[in-house]
Symmetry: C2
Subunit: 246 residues, 2 copies
Protein backbone atom coordinates (compact mmCIF):
# COMPACT_ATOMS: atom_id res chain seq x y z
CA UNK A 1 0.00 0.00 0.00
CA UNK A 2 2.79 2.39 0.97
CA UNK A 3 4.63 1.61 -2.22
CA UNK A 4 1.55 2.09 -4.40
CA UNK A 5 0.93 5.46 -2.78
CA UNK A 6 4.49 6.49 -3.40
CA UNK A 7 4.26 5.56 -7.06
CA UNK A 8 1.06 7.42 -7.77
CA UNK A 9 1.15 10.38 -5.43
CA UNK A 10 4.58 11.70 -6.09
CA UNK A 11 4.47 14.56 -8.50
CA UNK A 12 7.37 14.18 -10.87
CA UNK A 13 9.23 16.75 -12.92
CA UNK A 14 9.02 16.15 -16.70
CA UNK A 15 12.67 15.08 -16.61
CA UNK A 16 11.96 12.57 -13.83
CA UNK A 17 8.95 11.38 -15.79
CA UNK A 18 11.13 10.44 -18.75
CA UNK A 19 13.71 8.79 -16.48
CA UNK A 20 10.95 6.88 -14.67
CA UNK A 21 9.54 5.59 -17.95
CA UNK A 22 12.94 4.53 -19.25
CA UNK A 23 13.83 2.78 -16.02
CA UNK A 24 10.46 1.03 -16.04
CA UNK A 25 11.20 -0.25 -19.55
CA UNK A 26 14.56 -1.68 -18.49
CA UNK A 27 13.30 -3.05 -15.17
CA UNK A 28 10.03 -4.56 -16.37
CA UNK A 29 8.35 -3.11 -13.22
CA UNK A 30 7.89 0.28 -11.60
CA UNK A 31 10.81 1.90 -9.82
CA UNK A 32 9.77 3.63 -6.57
CA UNK A 33 12.66 5.80 -5.46
CA UNK A 34 14.43 7.09 -8.55
CA UNK A 35 17.35 8.47 -6.52
CA UNK A 36 18.85 4.96 -6.22
CA UNK A 37 18.98 4.61 -10.01
CA UNK A 38 20.33 8.13 -10.45
CA UNK A 39 23.13 7.28 -8.04
CA UNK A 40 23.65 4.06 -10.01
CA UNK A 41 24.53 6.18 -13.04
CA UNK A 42 26.69 8.77 -11.29
CA UNK A 43 30.36 8.43 -12.20
CA UNK A 44 32.94 9.40 -9.57
CA UNK A 45 34.26 12.16 -11.86
CA UNK A 46 31.10 14.16 -11.20
CA UNK A 47 32.48 14.74 -7.67
CA UNK A 48 29.07 14.80 -6.03
CA UNK A 49 28.71 14.49 -2.26
CA UNK A 50 25.73 14.13 0.07
CA UNK A 51 24.91 16.40 3.04
CA UNK A 52 27.46 14.53 5.19
CA UNK A 53 30.24 14.86 2.65
CA UNK A 54 30.08 11.22 1.51
CA UNK A 55 30.75 10.83 -2.20
CA UNK A 56 27.72 10.05 -4.37
CA UNK A 57 28.62 7.65 -7.14
CA UNK A 58 27.87 4.10 -8.17
CA UNK A 59 30.97 2.37 -6.80
CA UNK A 60 29.43 1.22 -3.51
CA UNK A 61 26.35 0.03 -5.39
CA UNK A 62 28.59 -2.26 -7.46
CA UNK A 63 29.55 -4.09 -4.27
CA UNK A 64 25.90 -4.52 -3.32
CA UNK A 65 24.79 -5.57 -6.80
CA UNK A 66 27.62 -8.06 -7.14
CA UNK A 67 26.48 -9.73 -3.89
CA UNK A 68 22.83 -9.89 -4.97
CA UNK A 69 23.75 -11.21 -8.39
CA UNK A 70 25.89 -13.88 -6.74
CA UNK A 71 23.12 -15.14 -4.51
CA UNK A 72 20.38 -15.07 -7.14
CA UNK A 73 22.56 -17.04 -9.57
CA UNK A 74 23.57 -19.42 -6.77
CA UNK A 75 19.92 -20.16 -5.97
CA UNK A 76 19.11 -20.65 -9.65
CA UNK A 77 21.97 -23.08 -10.25
CA UNK A 78 21.23 -24.95 -7.02
CA UNK A 79 17.67 -25.61 -8.14
CA UNK A 80 18.41 -26.10 -11.84
CA UNK A 81 21.28 -28.58 -11.55
CA UNK A 82 20.55 -31.10 -8.79
CA UNK A 83 23.43 -33.25 -9.97
CA UNK A 84 26.06 -30.52 -9.62
CA UNK A 85 28.32 -30.59 -6.57
CA UNK A 86 29.74 -27.54 -4.76
CA UNK A 87 32.73 -27.28 -7.09
CA UNK A 88 30.56 -27.46 -10.18
CA UNK A 89 28.14 -24.84 -8.85
CA UNK A 90 30.98 -22.48 -7.95
CA UNK A 91 32.58 -22.85 -11.38
CA UNK A 92 29.32 -22.32 -13.24
CA UNK A 93 28.51 -19.24 -11.23
CA UNK A 94 31.89 -17.68 -12.00
CA UNK A 95 31.26 -18.23 -15.69
CA UNK A 96 27.88 -16.51 -15.49
CA UNK A 97 29.09 -13.50 -13.53
CA UNK A 98 32.41 -13.18 -15.40
CA UNK A 99 33.60 -9.65 -16.17
CA UNK A 100 33.13 -10.30 -19.87
CA UNK A 101 29.58 -11.48 -19.38
CA UNK A 102 28.62 -8.57 -17.12
CA UNK A 103 30.05 -6.14 -19.68
CA UNK A 104 27.90 -7.76 -22.32
CA UNK A 105 24.79 -7.44 -20.14
CA UNK A 106 25.41 -3.78 -19.36
CA UNK A 107 26.16 -3.02 -23.01
CA UNK A 108 23.03 -4.76 -24.26
CA UNK A 109 20.87 -2.69 -21.90
CA UNK A 110 22.73 0.43 -23.07
CA UNK A 111 23.12 1.60 -19.47
CA UNK A 112 25.98 3.89 -20.44
CA UNK A 113 23.45 6.18 -22.06
CA UNK A 114 22.42 7.39 -18.58
CA UNK A 115 25.86 7.99 -17.09
CA UNK A 116 26.41 11.35 -15.49
CA UNK A 117 30.10 12.17 -15.67
CA UNK A 118 32.65 14.90 -16.17
CA UNK A 119 34.90 12.79 -18.36
CA UNK A 120 33.91 11.75 -21.85
CA UNK A 121 32.68 8.25 -22.58
CA UNK A 122 35.79 7.15 -24.48
CA UNK A 123 37.82 7.35 -21.26
CA UNK A 124 35.68 4.81 -19.46
CA UNK A 125 37.10 1.58 -20.78
CA UNK A 126 35.20 -1.63 -21.42
CA UNK A 127 34.47 -2.55 -17.80
CA UNK A 128 32.14 0.35 -17.25
CA UNK A 129 29.33 -1.68 -18.80
CA UNK A 130 29.62 -4.46 -16.23
CA UNK A 131 30.13 -2.01 -13.38
CA UNK A 132 26.96 -0.16 -14.35
CA UNK A 133 25.10 -3.44 -14.54
CA UNK A 134 26.19 -4.43 -11.03
CA UNK A 135 25.34 -0.98 -9.69
CA UNK A 136 21.93 -1.17 -11.35
CA UNK A 137 21.20 -4.45 -9.55
CA UNK A 138 22.33 -2.81 -6.29
CA UNK A 139 19.93 0.07 -6.92
CA UNK A 140 17.08 -2.39 -7.49
CA UNK A 141 17.84 -4.05 -4.16
CA UNK A 142 17.72 -0.73 -2.31
CA UNK A 143 14.60 0.37 -4.14
CA UNK A 144 12.47 -2.78 -4.18
CA UNK A 145 14.26 -5.55 -2.24
CA UNK A 146 15.58 -8.99 -3.01
CA UNK A 147 12.48 -10.42 -4.72
CA UNK A 148 12.58 -7.72 -7.39
CA UNK A 149 16.32 -8.25 -7.85
CA UNK A 150 15.50 -11.88 -8.46
CA UNK A 151 12.78 -10.96 -10.97
CA UNK A 152 15.08 -8.63 -12.86
CA UNK A 153 18.04 -11.03 -12.89
CA UNK A 154 15.81 -13.83 -13.99
CA UNK A 155 14.42 -11.86 -16.91
CA UNK A 156 17.60 -10.11 -18.00
CA UNK A 157 20.33 -12.59 -17.12
CA UNK A 158 19.03 -16.10 -16.57
CA UNK A 159 16.44 -16.48 -19.31
CA UNK A 160 18.42 -14.85 -22.14
CA UNK A 161 21.98 -15.85 -21.16
CA UNK A 162 22.18 -18.78 -18.78
CA UNK A 163 22.43 -21.78 -21.02
CA UNK A 164 23.78 -24.63 -18.97
CA UNK A 165 24.94 -27.04 -21.73
CA UNK A 166 26.81 -24.15 -23.33
CA UNK A 167 28.37 -23.02 -20.05
CA UNK A 168 29.45 -26.58 -19.39
CA UNK A 169 31.30 -26.48 -22.69
CA UNK A 170 29.23 -29.37 -24.04
CA UNK A 171 27.85 -27.10 -26.73
CA UNK A 172 30.20 -24.53 -28.22
CA UNK A 173 27.80 -23.13 -30.78
CA UNK A 174 24.21 -24.03 -31.53
CA UNK A 175 24.65 -22.67 -35.03
CA UNK A 176 27.32 -25.24 -35.80
CA UNK A 177 25.10 -28.00 -34.39
CA UNK A 178 22.27 -26.91 -36.67
CA UNK A 179 24.56 -26.76 -39.73
CA UNK A 180 26.02 -30.15 -38.94
CA UNK A 181 22.59 -31.69 -38.56
CA UNK A 182 21.34 -30.14 -41.82
CA UNK A 183 24.34 -31.44 -43.71
CA UNK A 184 23.90 -34.92 -42.30
CA UNK A 185 20.16 -34.96 -43.06
CA UNK A 186 20.75 -33.33 -46.46
CA UNK A 187 18.51 -30.37 -45.69
CA UNK A 188 18.82 -26.81 -47.00
CA UNK A 189 19.23 -24.13 -44.36
CA UNK A 190 19.21 -20.36 -44.58
CA UNK A 191 19.68 -17.58 -42.00
CA UNK A 192 17.58 -14.64 -43.04
CA UNK A 193 19.07 -11.57 -41.29
CA UNK A 194 17.58 -8.06 -41.26
CA UNK A 195 18.08 -4.98 -39.13
CA UNK A 196 15.18 -4.52 -36.76
CA UNK A 197 15.41 -1.55 -34.46
CA UNK A 198 11.89 -0.99 -33.22
CA UNK A 199 11.79 2.02 -30.93
CA UNK A 200 14.98 1.19 -29.11
CA UNK A 201 18.24 3.09 -28.98
CA UNK A 202 20.43 0.04 -29.32
CA UNK A 203 20.75 -1.54 -32.75
CA UNK A 204 18.93 -4.87 -33.00
CA UNK A 205 19.06 -7.60 -35.59
CA UNK A 206 16.33 -10.05 -36.40
CA UNK A 207 16.97 -13.53 -37.78
CA UNK A 208 14.71 -16.13 -39.30
CA UNK A 209 16.15 -19.61 -39.64
CA UNK A 210 14.63 -21.53 -42.53
CA UNK A 211 15.16 -25.24 -43.06
CA UNK A 212 13.96 -26.57 -46.40
CA UNK A 213 12.18 -23.25 -46.95
CA UNK A 214 10.18 -23.44 -43.70
CA UNK A 215 10.76 -20.96 -40.87
CA UNK A 216 11.72 -23.06 -37.83
CA UNK A 217 12.90 -20.33 -35.42
CA UNK A 218 13.11 -16.55 -35.04
CA UNK A 219 15.26 -14.42 -32.74
CA UNK A 220 16.37 -10.85 -32.05
CA UNK A 221 19.63 -9.66 -30.54
CA UNK A 222 22.13 -6.81 -30.54
CA UNK A 223 24.39 -8.41 -33.16
CA UNK A 224 23.89 -10.60 -36.23
CA UNK A 225 26.00 -13.34 -34.71
CA UNK A 226 24.06 -13.37 -31.43
CA UNK A 227 20.71 -13.39 -33.22
CA UNK A 228 21.78 -16.32 -35.41
CA UNK A 229 23.01 -18.21 -32.36
CA UNK A 230 19.79 -17.52 -30.47
CA UNK A 231 17.64 -18.69 -33.39
CA UNK A 232 19.79 -21.82 -33.72
CA UNK A 233 19.43 -22.54 -30.01
CA UNK A 234 15.66 -22.21 -30.26
CA UNK A 235 15.57 -24.54 -33.24
CA UNK A 236 17.81 -27.02 -31.43
CA UNK A 237 15.61 -27.15 -28.32
CA UNK A 238 12.44 -27.34 -30.43
CA UNK A 239 13.90 -30.34 -32.32
CA UNK A 240 15.01 -31.99 -29.08
CA UNK A 241 11.49 -31.68 -27.71
CA UNK A 242 10.11 -33.29 -30.87
CA UNK A 243 12.63 -36.12 -30.66
CA UNK A 244 11.86 -36.69 -26.99
CA UNK A 245 8.13 -36.87 -27.69
CA UNK A 246 8.58 -39.59 -30.36
CA UNK B 1 -1.96 -19.02 4.64
CA UNK B 2 -0.44 -22.01 2.86
CA UNK B 3 2.51 -21.95 5.23
CA UNK B 4 0.31 -21.74 8.34
CA UNK B 5 -1.70 -24.69 7.12
CA UNK B 6 1.44 -26.68 6.51
CA UNK B 7 2.72 -25.99 10.00
CA UNK B 8 -0.44 -26.94 11.82
CA UNK B 9 -2.01 -29.63 9.67
CA UNK B 10 0.99 -31.82 9.12
CA UNK B 11 0.93 -34.70 11.50
CA UNK B 12 4.45 -35.18 12.73
CA UNK B 13 6.12 -38.25 14.16
CA UNK B 14 7.31 -37.76 17.78
CA UNK B 15 10.89 -37.68 16.47
CA UNK B 16 9.99 -34.96 13.96
CA UNK B 17 8.18 -33.12 16.72
CA UNK B 18 11.38 -32.88 18.77
CA UNK B 19 13.44 -31.89 15.74
CA UNK B 20 10.85 -29.23 14.83
CA UNK B 21 10.97 -27.76 18.33
CA UNK B 22 14.75 -27.71 18.42
CA UNK B 23 14.99 -26.13 14.98
CA UNK B 24 12.42 -23.54 16.00
CA UNK B 25 14.56 -22.64 19.01
CA UNK B 26 17.65 -22.13 16.87
CA UNK B 27 15.81 -20.33 14.09
CA UNK B 28 13.63 -18.05 16.19
CA UNK B 29 10.71 -18.84 13.84
CA UNK B 30 8.86 -21.91 12.61
CA UNK B 31 10.51 -24.17 10.07
CA UNK B 32 8.07 -25.41 7.42
CA UNK B 33 9.73 -28.23 5.51
CA UNK B 34 12.00 -30.09 7.92
CA UNK B 35 13.61 -32.10 5.12
CA UNK B 36 15.82 -29.13 4.20
CA UNK B 37 17.26 -28.99 7.72
CA UNK B 38 17.68 -32.76 7.86
CA UNK B 39 19.66 -32.57 4.64
CA UNK B 40 21.63 -29.72 6.19
CA UNK B 41 22.86 -32.12 8.86
CA UNK B 42 23.56 -35.12 6.62
CA UNK B 43 27.28 -35.80 6.29
CA UNK B 44 28.51 -37.30 3.02
CA UNK B 45 29.71 -40.40 4.88
CA UNK B 46 26.09 -41.47 5.38
CA UNK B 47 26.05 -42.24 1.61
CA UNK B 48 22.41 -41.32 1.16
CA UNK B 49 20.96 -40.77 -2.31
CA UNK B 50 17.60 -39.54 -3.55
CA UNK B 51 15.31 -41.37 -6.00
CA UNK B 52 17.41 -40.13 -8.93
CA UNK B 53 20.68 -41.31 -7.43
CA UNK B 54 21.86 -37.81 -6.46
CA UNK B 55 23.79 -37.79 -3.17
CA UNK B 56 21.93 -36.32 -0.18
CA UNK B 57 24.29 -34.35 2.04
CA UNK B 58 24.88 -30.79 3.10
CA UNK B 59 27.71 -29.89 0.73
CA UNK B 60 25.57 -28.25 -1.94
CA UNK B 61 23.70 -26.35 0.77
CA UNK B 62 27.00 -24.82 1.91
CA UNK B 63 27.34 -23.19 -1.51
CA UNK B 64 23.83 -21.76 -1.25
CA UNK B 65 24.20 -20.60 2.35
CA UNK B 66 27.56 -18.97 1.66
CA UNK B 67 25.94 -16.92 -1.13
CA UNK B 68 23.01 -15.84 1.06
CA UNK B 69 25.29 -14.96 3.94
CA UNK B 70 27.43 -12.90 1.58
CA UNK B 71 24.54 -10.86 0.29
CA UNK B 72 22.87 -10.28 3.67
CA UNK B 73 26.15 -9.09 5.17
CA UNK B 74 26.81 -6.94 2.09
CA UNK B 75 23.44 -5.22 2.48
CA UNK B 76 24.02 -4.70 6.20
CA UNK B 77 27.46 -3.16 5.74
CA UNK B 78 26.26 -1.01 2.84
CA UNK B 79 23.55 0.53 5.00
CA UNK B 80 25.54 0.65 8.24
CA UNK B 81 28.74 2.26 6.93
CA UNK B 82 27.83 5.00 4.44
CA UNK B 83 31.42 6.25 4.53
CA UNK B 84 32.97 2.93 3.47
CA UNK B 85 34.07 2.54 -0.15
CA UNK B 86 33.96 -0.69 -2.18
CA UNK B 87 37.35 -1.83 -0.91
CA UNK B 88 36.42 -1.23 2.71
CA UNK B 89 33.09 -3.04 2.34
CA UNK B 90 34.75 -6.03 0.67
CA UNK B 91 37.40 -6.27 3.38
CA UNK B 92 34.90 -5.99 6.23
CA UNK B 93 32.69 -8.64 4.72
CA UNK B 94 35.60 -11.07 4.41
CA UNK B 95 36.34 -10.56 8.09
CA UNK B 96 32.75 -11.29 9.08
CA UNK B 97 32.42 -14.42 6.96
CA UNK B 98 35.93 -15.70 7.68
CA UNK B 99 36.31 -19.43 8.19
CA UNK B 100 37.27 -18.85 11.82
CA UNK B 101 34.20 -16.76 12.44
CA UNK B 102 31.82 -19.20 10.75
CA UNK B 103 33.30 -22.02 12.82
CA UNK B 104 32.62 -20.02 15.95
CA UNK B 105 29.01 -19.39 14.90
CA UNK B 106 28.34 -23.05 14.13
CA UNK B 107 29.99 -24.14 17.37
CA UNK B 108 28.00 -21.68 19.47
CA UNK B 109 24.74 -23.01 18.02
CA UNK B 110 25.98 -26.56 18.68
CA UNK B 111 24.86 -27.61 15.20
CA UNK B 112 27.16 -30.63 15.30
CA UNK B 113 24.76 -32.25 17.74
CA UNK B 114 22.40 -32.96 14.84
CA UNK B 115 24.88 -34.40 12.34
CA UNK B 116 23.98 -37.69 10.79
CA UNK B 117 27.17 -39.48 9.82
CA UNK B 118 28.92 -42.84 9.58
CA UNK B 119 32.23 -41.51 10.83
CA UNK B 120 32.74 -40.39 14.39
CA UNK B 121 32.80 -36.72 15.34
CA UNK B 122 36.55 -36.57 16.04
CA UNK B 123 37.26 -37.16 12.34
CA UNK B 124 35.40 -34.08 11.26
CA UNK B 125 37.99 -31.39 11.92
CA UNK B 126 37.33 -27.84 13.00
CA UNK B 127 35.74 -26.57 9.78
CA UNK B 128 32.68 -28.72 10.13
CA UNK B 129 31.16 -26.08 12.43
CA UNK B 130 31.35 -23.38 9.78
CA UNK B 131 30.24 -25.75 7.03
CA UNK B 132 27.17 -26.72 9.05
CA UNK B 133 26.43 -23.08 9.68
CA UNK B 134 26.56 -22.26 5.96
CA UNK B 135 24.42 -25.29 5.11
CA UNK B 136 21.91 -24.27 7.78
CA UNK B 137 21.55 -20.84 6.15
CA UNK B 138 21.09 -22.59 2.78
CA UNK B 139 18.33 -24.75 4.29
CA UNK B 140 16.59 -21.63 5.64
CA UNK B 141 16.65 -20.09 2.16
CA UNK B 142 15.06 -23.17 0.61
CA UNK B 143 12.53 -23.48 3.40
CA UNK B 144 11.45 -19.87 3.97
CA UNK B 145 13.18 -17.62 1.43
CA UNK B 146 15.54 -14.68 1.57
CA UNK B 147 13.67 -12.56 4.13
CA UNK B 148 13.90 -15.30 6.74
CA UNK B 149 17.58 -15.82 5.95
CA UNK B 150 18.01 -12.12 6.62
CA UNK B 151 16.10 -12.39 9.91
CA UNK B 152 18.16 -15.33 11.08
CA UNK B 153 21.51 -13.81 10.04
CA UNK B 154 20.58 -10.55 11.67
CA UNK B 155 19.74 -12.23 14.97
CA UNK B 156 22.52 -14.81 15.05
CA UNK B 157 25.37 -13.11 13.22
CA UNK B 158 24.94 -9.37 12.96
CA UNK B 159 23.58 -8.42 16.37
CA UNK B 160 25.87 -10.64 18.46
CA UNK B 161 29.05 -10.59 16.34
CA UNK B 162 29.23 -7.73 13.89
CA UNK B 163 30.96 -4.99 15.80
CA UNK B 164 32.31 -2.52 13.31
CA UNK B 165 34.89 -0.64 15.46
CA UNK B 166 36.29 -4.01 16.53
CA UNK B 167 36.39 -5.38 12.99
CA UNK B 168 38.12 -2.22 11.86
CA UNK B 169 40.79 -2.97 14.44
CA UNK B 170 40.07 0.31 16.24
CA UNK B 171 39.00 -1.59 19.34
CA UNK B 172 40.88 -4.77 20.24
CA UNK B 173 39.05 -5.53 23.46
CA UNK B 174 36.21 -3.71 25.18
CA UNK B 175 37.24 -5.27 28.47
CA UNK B 176 40.61 -3.53 28.33
CA UNK B 177 38.91 -0.23 27.47
CA UNK B 178 36.67 -0.59 30.53
CA UNK B 179 39.62 -1.45 32.80
CA UNK B 180 41.66 1.45 31.46
CA UNK B 181 38.79 3.86 32.00
CA UNK B 182 38.15 2.61 35.57
CA UNK B 183 41.81 2.97 36.46
CA UNK B 184 41.93 6.48 35.05
CA UNK B 185 38.74 7.50 36.85
CA UNK B 186 39.81 5.68 40.03
CA UNK B 187 36.74 3.46 40.07
CA UNK B 188 36.42 -0.08 41.40
CA UNK B 189 35.31 -2.68 38.86
CA UNK B 190 34.35 -6.31 39.26
CA UNK B 191 33.28 -9.01 36.79
CA UNK B 192 30.85 -11.31 38.52
CA UNK B 193 30.88 -14.62 36.60
CA UNK B 194 28.56 -17.57 37.13
CA UNK B 195 27.58 -20.60 35.10
CA UNK B 196 24.12 -20.15 33.63
CA UNK B 197 22.89 -23.01 31.51
CA UNK B 198 19.13 -22.56 31.37
CA UNK B 199 17.57 -25.34 29.35
CA UNK B 200 20.20 -25.33 26.67
CA UNK B 201 22.63 -28.06 25.70
CA UNK B 202 25.57 -25.74 25.24
CA UNK B 203 27.26 -24.44 28.36
CA UNK B 204 26.59 -20.76 28.98
CA UNK B 205 28.18 -18.25 31.31
CA UNK B 206 26.56 -15.18 32.74
CA UNK B 207 28.49 -12.06 33.72
CA UNK B 208 27.54 -8.98 35.67
CA UNK B 209 29.91 -6.05 35.43
CA UNK B 210 29.86 -3.89 38.55
CA UNK B 211 31.51 -0.48 38.73
CA UNK B 212 31.72 1.02 42.21
CA UNK B 213 29.35 -1.69 43.40
CA UNK B 214 26.63 -0.86 40.85
CA UNK B 215 25.69 -3.32 38.08
CA UNK B 216 26.29 -1.48 34.80
CA UNK B 217 25.91 -4.33 32.29
CA UNK B 218 24.99 -8.00 32.02
CA UNK B 219 25.73 -10.55 29.32
CA UNK B 220 25.59 -14.25 28.51
CA UNK B 221 27.82 -16.26 26.18
CA UNK B 222 29.35 -19.68 25.61
CA UNK B 223 32.60 -18.84 27.40
CA UNK B 224 33.63 -16.70 30.37
CA UNK B 225 35.87 -14.60 28.18
CA UNK B 226 33.17 -13.94 25.62
CA UNK B 227 30.60 -13.06 28.27
CA UNK B 228 33.01 -10.60 29.94
CA UNK B 229 33.76 -9.02 26.59
CA UNK B 230 30.09 -8.73 25.71
CA UNK B 231 29.26 -7.13 29.08
CA UNK B 232 32.18 -4.70 28.65
CA UNK B 233 31.00 -3.80 25.16
CA UNK B 234 27.50 -3.10 26.47
CA UNK B 235 28.88 -0.94 29.25
CA UNK B 236 31.10 0.89 26.75
CA UNK B 237 28.22 1.71 24.40
CA UNK B 238 25.97 2.69 27.32
CA UNK B 239 28.65 5.10 28.59
CA UNK B 240 29.17 6.51 25.11
CA UNK B 241 25.47 7.22 24.79
CA UNK B 242 25.51 9.03 28.14
CA UNK B 243 28.53 11.07 27.11
CA UNK B 244 26.91 11.95 23.77
CA UNK B 245 23.74 13.13 25.53
CA UNK B 246 25.66 15.49 27.77
Amino acid sequence: MGIIKKIFNKSRSPEDGIFFEEMRKILGFNPVDLSHYRKGFTHRSSNKTDENGNPINYERLEFLGDAMLGSVIAAHLFKEVPTGDEGYLTKMRSKIVSREHLNELGRDLNLIKWVESKVSAQHFGENIHGNLFEAFVGAIYLDRGFTYCEKFINKKVIVPYVDIPKLEGKVISYKSLVIEWCQKEKKQFHYDVFEDNGNEDVKHFGVRLKIDGKIVAKARATSKKKAEEKASQRAYFAFQEKINKK
